[in-house]
Amino acid sequence: MASLEIQNLQISIGDKPIVKGLSLTIRSGEVHAIMGPNGTGKSTLAKAIAGHPDYTITGGDVLLDGKSVLEMETDERARAGLFLAFQYPSEIPGVTIANFLRAALQARLAEGEEIDASAYYKRLYAKMDLLKIDRKFTSRAVNDGFSGGEKKRCEILQMAMLEPKFALMDETDSGLDIDALRIVAEGVNAQRGSAISPGILLITHYQRLLDYIIPDHVHVMWDGRIVKSGDKSLALELEAKGYDWVKQEFAAASA
């Protein structure tokens, strides 16, 4: 059983504190949904955990299986088992999906070990079929000219190929049509059901994703903190009532 422990994490951009003391523990197989208004620091949290250089950790810690990741480079964190599905995936002109994923898998092998090309393509095609991604995409440049939905599917394809211990999924549902949402959710659920069984931090604005990927815990983030946690019914409540009542409750509590 693997664990990702976020301990009283504080994150700044420049001098501006964005995440102001956030704690959360995720274990293998668990799905934690984080919801919250725009600009509350959800993406900041996910990117900082992945090691984005724009963000400064000013306090707290992030432990992967008990070991701090904060001193690790981004690529080391990824090889240790962290995966970030980006809210806005970068376009990489000239680098094909096939070469990119191959480089990512190669990076996980010991010096001198080589990827078996035919086994690699077999596995890649199987995952693409599952996510209903046309096999021709292997020779397209990463995210270059992809539609919003294609980009998000491509993120899940990468997750399926890299088999992380923990995935931070930042609004993977945005830009997906209803069918694509179901396909992506099935892709994620297939990984949950497999031996890999990653722990998942699911950032979303919409209940509808949670109909497919059923969360064990739902957290509401507000102004850089988790202000309320509950089970999946909390998401339904938010969907019905919006965030105002949370704001009021939080204001009352912190007054």
Binding site: A50, G51, F86, S90, P93, A104, A107, R108
Partner: protein, 436 residues
């Protein structure tokens, strides 16, 4: 004025009159006109000064390191082809080691029967004198290296002569490897290609050092595409990192012909490359491509000239440089449109990817347009690796160095993708990888 002044000595460096006489003695089998051409070239070489800092054609170049001293004209070597790191399917191969033919594979019988010729300049000087006279270094030298081009003619030992007759298609590439070995060796590689009316061919030049010592390379290639011909030319320069290299390209494109040339620059401590394309008749198209990986303290100095001499001609230049460490690049390109070359479509672009803050890319794009109904665009950009792209790759477990390599290949792909020959494309990628 004394002809034996020290200035004259360093002006000609190791290439003294005695050295030239000794070289001529090795050419005894050559026809008189060829020897005469060499003598005239030597006289021109000896009379011309070394480039000066004030020459516009050498702006930004490090001229202090262009020494002609301490080198000796190569003696024949029996080294065989060393293209293990640059392999793809070829239809015929010629290898020159230190200016001398060292190995060859014969053309398939059907192509030989159709009149395709893949042979040496020495043989062509005897058997195909008219073609050689018409095309060997026959175009003007306008880009600053008149002296070195004359040196090339004076000392050229042997080289490749490739002739594709009217209407003949040669599908797989014809490959010419030019090897240099031994410290201080001077080599003068040459490849001449004549593609006659409606023919098609791909020719690859590969320049490579057999050892890590410093060589002096002064090469040239002449490309001629007749009416409707389609010629693809790839040159991969992979000399040792201490070599001083000069390479002069001349491309003549006739009516409705198309030439695509791709120069890959990897080796040498200092490499000067001059490329002239002349669009001589309507419908002519020259696509000029180049990729450079500059690292350490290397200097790559590229000078280009696209001359539109007839209406409805097209040229498209895309030179991409990736710079690391303290490397320098210079790109100076000029598009010239003659007065009656209306409806010219000319494009010129130099893009630099700066992988180090200490590298230096210089760009001097230029236009000289004398017709009024033309479309000419030119531009130069320098950019760094996009940190968001780098982060994206790193977030998948790819280390920074490998991420930068992938992004550099991504940057190059726009050029490599233009090559239709897939195995050649892959071989070039593999060759580029040896520099990372």
């Amino acid at each position: 004025m004394s002809t034996a002044s020290p200035a004259t000595q360093s002006q000609n460096g190791s290439f003294t009159a005695e050295v030239f006489a000794a070289h001529l003695a090795t050419q005894a089998a050559a026809p008189a006109w060829w020897l005469e051409r060499k003598r005239a070239a030597y006289a021109q070489f000896a009379a011309l000064p070394m480039p000066a800092r004030t020459n516009e054609g050498w702006r930004f170049s490090n001229i202090g390191t262009l020494s002609l001293d301490g080198v000796a004209v190569a003696t024949p070597s029996n080294l065989k082809s060393q293209i293990s790191d640059f392999k793809f399917k070829a239809v015929a191969e010629l290898t020159f080691a230190n200016n001398t033919l060292s190995s060859r594979t014969a053309l398939p019988a059907d192509l030989a029967a159709k009149g395709v010729i893949v042979t040496t300049l020495a043989e062509a000087a005897v058997k195909h004198a008219d073609l050689l006279k018409a095309h060997f270094m026959a175009q003007p030298q306008k880009l600053g290296s008149e002296k070195f081009a004359a040196l090339h003619i004076a000392f050229v030992g042997d080289g490749a002569f490739i002739y594709v007759p009217k209407g003949v298609t040669v599908t797989d590439p014809i490959v010419v490897t030019h090897l240099a070995s031994g410290a201080g060796t001077a080599v003068f590689p040459h490849t001449l290609v004549v593609a006659e009316e409606n023919s098609r061919a791909t020719v690859v030049d590969y320049f490579v050092s057999a050892d890590a010592s410093a060589h002096f390379a002064c090469g040239a290639n002449d490309l001629y595409a007749g009416h409707g011909a389609q010629l693809t030319y790839v040159a991969a320069q992979n000399w040792s990192p201490t070599t001083l290299s000069f390479q002069f390209n001349s491309t003549v494109v006739r009516r409705d012909a198309r030439v695509q040339s791709l120069n890959l620059h990897l080796g040498a401590r200092q490499a000067r490359h001059e490329s002239l394309s002349q669009l001589q008749a309507p419908g002519a198209f020259s696509e000029m491509l180049a990729l450079t990986v500059a690292m350490g303290a290397q200097e790559f100095d590229q000078r280009t000239l696209q001359i539109h001499q007839a209406p409805n001609t097209k040229s498209d230049l895309l030179y991409k440089n990736a710079l690391r460490d303290t490397a320098r690049t210079i790109f100076s390109g000029l598009i010239v449109v003659d007065p009656d070359a209306q409806k010219t479509d000319a494009y010129q672009s130099n893009r630099n990817l700066m992988l180090s803050d200490d590298a230096e890319a210089n760009s001097l794009p230029g236009l000289e347009i004398q017709a009024n109904d033309v479309r000419c665009t030119h531009g130069a950009t320098s950019s760094r690796i996009d940190p968001e792209q780098e982060f994206y790759l790193q977030s998948r477990g790819i280390a920074k160095a490998a991420a930068d390599e992938l992004l550099t290949f991504g940057f190059f792909e726009e050029v490599l993708n233009r090559l239709e020959n897939e195995p050649l494309h892959d071989a070039l990628r593999e060759l580029i990888k040896t520099k990372f």
